[in-house]
Symmetry: C2
């Protein structure tokens, strides 16, 4: 028999999500989350740097998948094509998380603090993509703008994806948003 129940971080995240749904983010204390997970407040902060972070466990995998895809893009690809190559592995990642993503989106939408955190995660993602583009030899300004454009498309497309019912629509919604951005920025 093991000394402690396994997957403390997962238990905390699950407890947090259910409590946020039941009574809202603001009205849920970290002590309550920890209690539901059979742990203490002190332990919560050993796994998550702050209360918000418990909702952002997936952002690391998102960034990893996307950046790897950028690195793996054909050498001749344009910067934006390298960036949008990330849509495929990302779509795969979200394919089976539609229900979760919707619940989570409702919680985030109801709370400005969480929206702030979401935006900085996207910004960090754009930064990681920018670096990878730079490694590919893309000039700095071009890299920044291509990464920003790609992340903006993701942001807009993702919002549409969680606002509708088809879990499989992810990839298509990204392409639609990309096409719209292209037409809007055309001179």
């Amino acid at each position: 028999m093991t000394r402690w129940k396994p997957d403390a971080a997962g238990r905390l995240a699950t407890a947090a999500l259910s409590l946020f749904e039941e009574q809202g983010y603001d009205d849920t204390t970290v002590a309550q989350i920890a209690e539901r997970a059979g742990l203490t407040k002190r332990t919560f902060f050993r796994y998550f740097s702050d209360k918000r972070e418990v909702l952002f466990g997936g952002s690391q995998e998102l960034e990893r998948r996307w950046v790897e895809a950028v690195a793996a893009a054909p050498a001749g690809a344009t910067p934006l094509a390298a960036v949008t190559a990330g849509f495929d592995p990302v779509a795969e990642m979200f394919a089976e998380r539609h229900a979760f993503a919707r619940t989570r989106a409702r919680i985030v939408e109801a709370n400005p603090e969480l929206q702030e955190r979401e935006l900085i995660k996207l910004q960090n993602l754009a930064g990681a993509i920018t670096s990878k583009l730079a490694e590919r030899g893309v000039p700095a300004n071009e890299a920044i703008l291509a990464a920003q454009a790609g992340v903006t498309v993701f942001h807009v497309g993702f919002a549409h994806w969680v606002a509708q019912d088809d879990p499989a629509a992810f990839r298509r919604l990204m392409d639609i948003a990309l096409g719209e951005l292209r037409s809007v920025t055309a001179a």
Copy 2:
């Protein structure tokens, strides 16, 4: 003789900026800011909804100027042209605030919390521009993407502006960033 010293909010903002410079954002308490402004912590929170907000007094004027410019753009202008019409009044607003903007940028750059707040201010700005575009009859998705593109250009251009020495370079840096975004997103 007036009952209270005037411009409490301005005194608080000035005190905060100097303290953040002297000892950093994290190591400055709201009580210290209030004391330097000759007020109390409780009064600080009557003027600013939280500690971060004391650095974001200008965002309302920025949004007002930009949105007005979008509203005033010629009826035949493309959505993106209407958005970038905001660069002129915004450049005018920042013309005499270069030194302040640089100081403030250093403080924000050193603190993730402040970066989060900065990003959500930009997002709110994009939202306001989106609404104004919608009023002009621009379809929803197009409005969102045009506004996002314009704000991204502003964000990138602004970062360049505070990173260099010429206060008058603002407008030119915006145009450069816009041109780069155009070339990057071209299909």
